[in-house]
Structure formats: structure tokens, C-alpha cells
Amino acid sequence: MFEFEFMRLAFAAGAIVGVLAPVVGFFLVQRQMSLIGDGIGHVAFAGVALGYLIGISPVWTALVAAVAGAVVIEWLRAHRKAAGDQALALVFYTGIAGGVVLISAAGALNANLFSYLFGSILTVSRSDLVTIAILGVAALALVAVFLRALLAVTLDEEGAQVAGLPVPVLNGLVSMLAALTIGISMRIVGVLLIAALMVLPVIAAQRVAWSLRSTIGLSMLVGLASALAGLTTSYYANLPPGGTIVLVATALFLLAATVETVRSRV
């Protein structure tokens, strides 16, 4: 399958997304905001629709909309204007409703739209890959640089605040990274399924991990394996890649849960 350039591009993009999504997802899962990716993803859908309507590349409008959605969710949560789940619901439903209205106005209910919603291995261009690589490496580098501070806030937000860490800035950074991840992942996994690739590898990894750092490392491996195995299956079985990648991640979660159960009985 690697004789086709579109598969080489899809695999390269999938590898970056598979590694990045769980790293960012780790912080969302630990803050018990696993569904924030879904909320931002639905706003990204509205961004895709807006791109069609005004004739700009949907990738960029989706990225801007995702960042805006992340800012709104974090602001609502941090200022206690709404509980975390309520803030999420507000953004989630507004995003999907806005997307439906905009996409209808643009007359763009077509197969190309579906590639943004559920991913496509045919749509990653060379310029897309360059964008994904630059933004993906930048996001991973940000996490690496601020890992200790991010872990401190994740472990004990109030303690971090007392110690003088810039907690709102670090929480905002996680939300920004989530938006960025969704923006660059939608060509492969789709905006409606990317949240699963952020969450499932993490909850699989923490079943068998022995520390926070091993949880992050194992979740990257699970995400990478899910992306590559999912893309391979997608190619040979002619299935949508987003759904296939997520189902592989689900299977790996079940495997990890089984290992945990067996280990606890030994």
C-alpha cells in the first residue's frame, strides 16, 4: 500500500496525530474533562461549515473555531459561570447547531464534508502534512517543556495556585493544545471522532501503567498503534479511517482492561 503517495502521507500524518492526541488527552482525562474534545470538535465542525460558506480552506476556519471553543469552555469553567459539564454542553450543542445551519446555508452537504467529519485517507496533501508536522511537533514540544508544571496543576490545582504557578495560563495551554490537536487531526480521524483518540489510549494505558510518566508513554504507544493499525485496516477493508482507528483503540482498551483484571487476580 505504500506505493501510493496518499498512503504514505496518511501514515505520516496518522503517526503524528496518534502520538499527539493521547498526550494532550492525558491532561483532559485526569481533569475529568474527557468530553472536552467532543465539545471542541463540534465547534470545529461549525468552523468547517463556515469555511465552506465564506470560501476559505475549512482546515483553517476549523482551527480558529476550535481555539475559540476551547477559550470559551475554559473561561466558563475557570470563572465558574457554569459547571464543567454544563460549559461543555453549551459549547457542544451551539457548535453542532451552528455547523448544521452554516453548512445548509453554504449548500455543502456532500461527500467532501463527510471527510472532515469522519476522516479520509485520501485527503491528506503534502501541504497538509507539513502543517500537521509543524503544529504537531510544536504541540509536543510545548508539553515537554511545561510537563512538570502541567503535572503539578493536574495533581493538585489549588496547591499549584498557592505555590504561585500560573494555573489559568497552564489550563488555557491545555485547552489550546486540545484545539490544536483537533484542528490538525480532522483530516485523518475527523472532527467527530478525534476526541476518542485523545481519551481511549489514555484510559487504556492507565489500566496497566505504574506511574504518571509511564501512563503518558503507554498512551502514546496505544495512540500510535491505533492510528497505524486503523489506517492499514481502513485501506484493505475500504473503511472510513476515523471509525477504524477508534475501534482499534477500543480493542486495545479492552485488552488493557483484561490484562489489569488478570494481574489483579494473580
Partner: protein
């Protein structure tokens, strides 16, 4: 040397018309070991949160080592154990990872220095968890978890150690062990300790000073001078 903590005519209410603290004045010297006790809802945790800058007073003035708490330049040197301290994560955080997080404000980015590692190892050793440093907290007893959180508070080599209900959820033996540990830390490190708890039986033989709070300060002195009736849990502290 400035006072460690100074409250001058401090009043605070979360809701209008429902004061939690009224006209409270308190001075704590650097290096003192003080228990702040009182009934639930009496304002002792609020008092600690005001000292740490987590809340702002409606009236009066709070000073932490001479500065307003939110302008205190050495905030990374505040060791804090929150009420019902527990991990904010579901992933298996080890003792070493939790204690290292206590040093994060001093070294938010870049590699840990040898000095950082020594401070982290020393904090773990002081609470007697060296042999369990790489074990996830989820596999430790309640008392051991509490000691890990105290090691986290010790990791920045604090000027002030603030503990809010540190004995909640641990058995009597662990409470007594914690009191002995804190007494030893106070002697060895000469750190200012604020110990907030709704009951003070386990700690009164090791603290120098007891402050009882029920909206106002109703007792302030050495535990030995406390009238016998105050030791009765049914006493309402008015």
C-alpha cells in the same frame, strides 16, 4: 524578622449577611507551630485560605511575611496540604512524582538540578517513605498517602507549612504518628507550621500555641492553659 502571619481586623463572608470571620486579628511569629481549631463552619479553613491568598478579606488586612499574600514573592516556598487532600488524577501517580510536583513552582521548566533532587529525596526520607518512593499512591494506606502529601509540601523547603485537616480519614495511630512527625519537622527545620483541624486532641501535646476560631478568636494560648471544658467535644466554643 517580619511576622510569618498577620491578620488585622479581618472580616470575611462568602455570602452577604452571613459572616464567616468577623474582625479577626492574629499574629504568628516566624518558626511558631500553631494549631488552629474550632467547630465545623467556624471559619478556621477560611482563615487559612485568607493567609494563603486563596480568598481576599472583605475588610481588614492580611500579611504573609510582611507582604500581601498575592504579592508574596516567595510563594513557591509555601507548603500546602489542602483539606481532604487526594490525588486529582486517576492515573497511578507515584510518591516520587507527587513529591516532585511540590517542587514544580520553584523549577517549572528545565531539568531538575542536583539541589532539587536532594530536596525531593530529603522530603520523602523525612516522612519515612524512601522505600516506597516508586510505588503508586493508590497502593498505599491512608496514613502513608497523607505522609506523601506532607512530603510534597516539604519539597520546596517551605518557609510556611500549612496543613488543612491533615488527619481527616486516617486512623488514630496514623494521627499520632503524624503529630510526632510534625513535631520532629518543626524541631529540625524550624519551619512555621499552621495546623488547621476541627479537633486538636492528637496535636495539642506537640504544638506551642492553640487558636480556637468560631467566627472570632475565642481562645489563643498554649494548650496547657486551655480550660478543661474546652476539651469536651460537645462544648460549643462560644
Amino acid at each position: 524578622m517580619p511576622l510569618a502571619v498577620e491578620l488585622d481586623g479581618v472580616s470575611f463572608a462568602y455570602l452577604p449577611g452571613q459572616p464567616v470571620l468577623g474582625d479577626v486579628s492574629l499574629e504568628i511569629e516566624t518558626g511558631e507551630f500553631v494549631a488552629i481549631a474550632g467547630p465545623n463552619g467556624g471559619g478556621k479553613t477560611t482563615l487559612l485560605r485568607l493567609v494563603l491568598g486563596l480568598e481576599r478579606p472583605n475588610a481588614g488586612r492580611v500579611r504573609l511575611f510582611g507582604d500581601a499574600p498575592d504579592r508574596f514573592r516567595e510563594r513557591p516556598k509555601l507548603g500546602y496540604l489542602a483539606q481532604r487532600a487526594q490525588l486529582g488524577v486517576q492515573a497511578p501517580a507515584t510518591v516520587l512524582e507527587v513529591v516532585t510536583a511540590g517542587r514544580a513552582a520553584l523549577r517549572p521548566v528545565g531539568r531538575l538540578t542536583a539541589e532539587d533532587r536532594e530536596a525531593i529525596e530529603a522530603a520523602i526520607e523525612r516522612v519515612g517513605l524512601s522505600a516506597l518512593a516508586k510505588r503508586p499512591l493508590t497502593r498505599l494506606s491512608g496514613g502513608q498517602q497523607q505522609r506523601a502529601f506532607i512530603a510534597k509540601a516539604l519539597a520546596p523547603e517551605p518557609k510556611l507549612l500549612a496543613l488543612d485537616e491533615p488527619t481527616a480519614g486516617v486512623d488514630v495511630a496514623a494521627q499520632e504518628a503524624l503529630a510526632e512527625l510534625l513535631a520532629r519537622l518543626h524541631d529540625e527545620l524550624n519551619v512555621t507550621i499552621l495546623y488547621v483541624s476541627h479537633e486538636f486532641g492528637a496535636i495539642e501535646h506537640v504544638v506551642e500555641r492553640l487558636v480556637l476560631v468560631r467566627e472570632r478568636i475565642v481562645f489563643d494560648g498554649p494548650p496547657s492553659s486551655l480550660p478543661g471544658v474546652w476539651h469536651d467535644p460537645s462544648h460549643v466554643h462560644v
